[in-house]
Symmetry: C2
Amino acid sequence: MKALEDKLRREATVLSTDILKVGNFLNQTLDVSFIMEMGKEIARLYTHERVTKIVTIEASGIAIATAAAIHMGVPVVFAKKSRVSTQTGNLYHASVKSFTHGNTYEAIIPMDMLSEKDRVLIIDDFLAHGAALTGLLSIIQQSGATLVGCAIAIEKGFQGGGDKLRAEGVRIDSLARIRSMDPETGIEFYA
Amino acid sequence: MKALEDKLRREATVLSTDILKVGNFLNQTLDVSFIMEMGKEIARLYTHERVTKIVTIEASGIAIATAAAIHMGVPVVFAKKSRVSTQTGNLYHASVKSFTHGNTYEAIIPMDMLSEKDRVLIIDDFLAHGAALTGLLSIIQQSGATLVGCAIAIEKGFQGGGDKLRAEGVRIDSLARIRSMDPETGIEFYA
């Protein structure tokens, strides 16, 4: 998505060769009209896939998942990262090692929110090592739902998670796919 | 908002006289078209207030804040509950005691995301004791921004947080305001 690549060049900050800061429009301040454009593009990519549910993970996946859901007319289910007192009943869950936070958490979705009748599109803001996505894929598999694909805003291709999952046969669509980045020279995208 | 009261009567689960479960449409599964209707109602309530930014807190405030922002044409800023490695620079922060989780966390917004030029509408899914809202109000005060008001999906009026803040002069609009609730007899709203 050319508009996202342009926006990243213009507005993102490359903190290191690993860390990209997009808090000013994608994951803390939300440029909602731009996020709606990303949601529209995701809806276009999955037009004929009869998606019944979008699955994401709190917190920064929620806005883009909501935007896509508005265009697709389906509900969003987001995985929570900890069990809270209002969660009862049986849960699908998967352990996720966060490279950003350096910890491991449980991604949790109550069993009554996903079923084998669902055709699921996973949406997230970032794909790097693929840890969160692998956790969500495990949850979808536990539920018996059909995975249609994964739509990602920004893939840090050089961290390998996307290619590993593609090699396993998972459909992954990244709106912007970064080949490399550097605080000095900026961001280079895959063609 | 009559439609929200009806939906709560129909789809929410009263777990106890204190705890209401709305994970099936508002804060884990997201009924996005209904959330858009709530966002539209919030936008209507604040039509003439020249709001420049919506502030919420992760995770369950993000969807409704995004919905209102789409109708109002302004960005959303959400407070994070922990410091992550991509956050640098100076931060506004406030301690929040969570009654739901029984812990205390820091609500954090980077200083460059809010300024004294902003006219802020706070949006959240629940108002109970007012702990999260009080934290966000502190952050807005630290920033020098003007608080326009707080729009809440569901206020548990009997827990007192809303009235305490109203008594301090804060404008609070709750789309549904619960007087009492009980697993046996259901939900009673303020007239």
